[in-house]
Symmetry: C2
């Protein structure tokens, strides 16, 4: 089994100033390539701490990936420590990274200072993978402590994440991890424990070389990832495909995508394919649904707009919810959710609309407990509503309300309601 | 110097399924209490890995805080490893946690199963801090490997974060970290490097027992934290206060709060104090500003609502932006931002309004480069607009647009525009 360790370098992690998101991205990529991550460790910008961690991790893993400590300022010492650790006699200039340093600074309208040029200097024993997103090169050291390889990546998150494909390519050119193929489906609207029970008979009967993972997320539901280890890639992919078709049949309409996706992307794809449009009216979700729709590149093709109607006057005046409907049923009600959905659909002329009204905080309104949401969806086949009750904090309730609303819209669009 | 190590336990971290956010929260709390975090480490649910990490960390730090591996299922083995590691002869029932297990399951409408009751069993050598947010108790082991203390916290993020105050209280009752006091101010609208240059003369003249930290964040700008080490608490607080007043004078109106805060909370506080209201019209930010406003508990007191006008028809029909203004100036323009702000203010009757129109993606529209935003603010003193150009990816551009819009509104409200 090919093993790896991920090592994050930087005081900013240890004082809690920055949450390390690089390690999870790198681990995901390694794991999907069949490489087992043994451990993750974060150390400060101190020579002793970095050296200690490198020694330990390089002796227990085949591959060590570091992030951070490659900046041009004097507190960043990873490069100097690696020079010494690798037994490099000096530094050399990397022409590829040098060119990139000039290009990047020019693009930002900045002068190239000596401190920037020094970024293209690497320890003599390093191989360079040019970093196209920043000035610090990605460095590879081979045969450390005998046989281990070390990849030093920049710490800036988009640079570290951007480096992953090239690093993985280099790893696969030099190591042979166990062959592994994956297939995903996305499920929304069922708890992990209930889903696990529902598909237990299928999961228990999986062949020994297959493994199912549950990857839950508040906004996207549960990603089910089926992996097959070893064997010939195309044959394994066909076997996974067949197994996933079985699984989709068992789970039914709760499956919203046959690959890794999100609710907003899946609904968006469906709208785009059909040439249809959507709008939304949000009360308790306060803009989150619009934010999710518009986080998808190209969403302007189908997302017309939204009204966040926090005040009752906006519900009445902008969305045209009759005052009598609010008076008779209360703001948090099926009737108001329906009227909001119909109002914004009328206002924007969209094919479909989705609306939310509820209580995101823990406090109730006397009639409904905190965490209540009413969702309305309107479209060519009329209007439907549904209610849910969640028991999380404000931020998490808003996310669950928004995801539930997107899923309700999806079910409507698929004629499941 | 009192030192600590944070140890995250769980396979889900190592396969990248979950990003570890607990460690950063714990590190922040420790650091603010004057405790130095030496290292963070993540290991899987394996006896050898957990034991190896505990031995190493307990011999290099005074305090080790673990999170995770305390669930009731068979893959969670942290408690068993700790029982052995601490030399506990067996388990004992903790009456406080037992009561909590019953209370929590009852609240969720679930039966209490033997697997749940087992959660209240702890190794004989453990002291218990009752976990009020979940069934797994917080356990304290003292005098491990001679003198170190270990705190075992649950891994569920809101439970781990919820445990921090009690754990910190216990630490301060048993250890004496260096006394430390902090004071924060929030700054928006200047790059870290430029701010650093602007205040260099002040920072360089700081007394030796004071240290300034820059804590930047896309949505909230730069938090400047001034810390004083040692000395008598109240006297130190007065010294910090005086220094921070100097600093505020130097930075000027870019300072938006004299304590740790966010733009949306600061603007909200101002609105609440004045009994005024706000609304917004969003194009490129697609609901993010409304989402930020409504993420603040109690925002319904001043946030009336918002229109996300992605389609031109919505800009014209709902917000009343004249078609001629769009034709003459283009959608991404000062004139359209102004008309959107005025339109939504008219529509909702709010005291102020803020509007955005721009290009979140990297592609330009032929006239404006990608990353361009026009922001409009309207209020009793008329309408103002401003433009910015950011060079990030879509998600990050949306955040910067939204934060810049909130800051522009704040400046208007403070008569700075």
């Amino acid at each position: 089994m090919l093993t790896a360790s991920i090592c994050t370098i930087g005081d900013e992690i240890l004082i809690g100033q920055v949450t390390d998101t690089n390690s999870a991205h790198i681990a995901t990529a390694l794991e999907e390539a069949g490489i087992h991550v043994n451990s993750m460790v974060s150390v400060g910008d101190s020579r002793d701490a970095i050296e200690g961690a490198l020694k330990r991790e390089l002796s227990s893993s085949d591959i060590v990936i570091t992030t951070g400590g490659l900046g041009p300022t004097k507190d960043d010492i990873t490069k100097a420590v690696l020079a010494e650790f690798s037994g490099s006699k000096g530094y050399k200039e990397d022409p590829g990274q040098l060119e990139m340093v000039h290009k990047i600074l020019k693009g930002r309208g900045l002068d190239v200072l000596p401190i920037n040029l020094a970024q293209a200097q690497v320890p003599e024993k390093a191989e360079v993978i040019v970093n196209k997103l920043g000035t610090a090169p990605i460095m590879v050291f081979r045969g450390l402590l005998g046989k281990a390889s070390l990849y030093a990546l920049p710490g800036v998150p988009h640079e570290a994440v951007g480096a992953i494909p090239a690093v993985l390519g280099d790893i696969l050119a030099h190591f042979k991890p166990e062959s592994i193929v994956h297939r995903n489906i996305m499920v929304y609207g069922i708890a992990e424990s209930a889903l696990s029970e529902k598909i237990a008979f299928w999961e228990d009967a999986l062949p020994a070389d297959m493994h199912l993972a549950y990857l839950p997320n508040t906004l996207t539901g549960i990603r089910l990832r089926l992996s097959a280890y070893g064997g010939e890639k195309e044959a394994q992919e066909r076997r996974l495909e067949a197994k996933m078709e079985e699984l989709k049949g068992i789970i039914g309409p709760l499956v919203y995508a046959g690959e890794d996706s999100t609710l907003e992307a899946s609904v968006g794809k469906l709208l785009k394919e059909r040439g249809e449009t959507v709008s939304c009216a949000e009360s308790c979700t306060g803009g989150e649904i619009a934010h999710l729709f518009t986080s998808v590149s190209g969403s302007s093709a189908y997302f017309l707009g939204s009204v966040t109607s926090y005040a009752i006057s906006v519900k009445e005046k902008v969305l045209g919810v009759p005052a009598s409907v609010i008076e008779e049923n209360g703001v948090v009600s099926s009737e108001v959710a329906a009227a909001m959905a119909e109002g914004v659909r009328r206002l924007t002329g969209s094919t479909y609309s989705v609306a939310t009204t509820g209580l995101a905080d823990k406090d109730g309104d006397g009639k409904n407990p905190g965490g209540t949401v009413w969702i309305g969806v309107s479209g060519p086949r009329g209007t439907r509503t549904v209610t849910y009750l969640y028991k999380n904090d404000r931020a998490r309730n808003i996310e669950r309300f928004a995801a539930s609303a997107l899923n309700f819209l999806r079910l409507y669009m698929e004629n499941q309601l």
